[in-house]
């Protein structure tokens, strides 16, 4: 199965800019479906980025983050060809992870 995570990490020699797009419904638990029934909460709670065995970015999310969430940040020290490990866990305990190369 294709990963739910798409990552682009580009280094300019000094800093590495990371952009991630994740496929996830991010249901807040406050929205009703067409039948008027509440759609139960289903959202990513934690998203972590690791480089060289160290966490470089940690997101704690609630149901207020948009569907198919996007996040962008930058860190110092990454080199072209380095691995970046990304993983998430949602409120139902589902997880996914992927590894991306810095370009």
């Amino acid at each position: 199965m294709a990963s739910s995570i798409r990552v682009r990490a580009t280094s300019n020699g000094e800093t590495t800019e990371v952009q991630a797009l994740i496929q996830h419904p991010m249901d807040s638990g406050f929205v009703k479906d067409a039948k008027g029934e509440i759609i139960p909460p289903h959202f990513i709670q934690q998203l972590t980025f690791e480089h060289d065995g160290k966490p470089i970015f940690l997101a704690n999310w609630g149901g207020g983050v948009s569907k198919d969430p996007y996040v962008k940040f930058a860190f110092k020290g990454g080199k072209k060809g380095d691995d970046l490990k990304i993983s998430w866990v949602d409120n139902k305990g589902a997880t996914d992870s992927t590894t991306a190369k810095i370009q």
Binding site: T15, M26, D27, S28, G29, F30, V31, I39, Q45, Q46, T48, K54, P55, I56, F57, L58, A59, N60, W61, G62, G63, G64, V65, S66, K67, P69, Y70, V71, K72, F73, A74, F75, K76, G77
Partner: protein, 164 residues
Amino acid sequence: MSITTNEFAETRRMVLKGAGVAALIGLGVVSFDARPALAAANDAYPKEAFKQKNEADAIKLLYGKTAEPSDKVKMDAPEIAENGAVVPISATTTLSDVTSITFLVSENPIALIASYRIPDGTLPSVSNRIKMAKTSNVIVIVEAGGKLYSATKEVKVTVGGCGG
């Protein structure tokens, strides 16, 4: 307590926690399940903070202190969001020793949207996309050198989308 709702009980508990937490820690009699001061320091998901309707309660639970407005916290947000389901917001700061950046929306059913931990070596700048139920203040909190700094901006929402 039997005639009050759970909601009220919870709010009251938060208020008590906020007021007494410093003193209680000093006395070593803290017995709550949620420990505000520690919540941001480790990697545990701040579950209770993500249940609060009010941004002040969420900030208190997350950090155990309050923020002061600072022009060193910059927020990039639209004046008007046509689609409340997807509102692009980014935050950056010139403050040093930043350890976390948090986004809140006052008028959402749950005020806390996202809280990012910024380890040493990661730049204090984050972009994300959030949901807004209606026109509201968006608040960015930057934790730097153990203190909290904030920026607030009103974003007008023409079509609400808390959940999209």
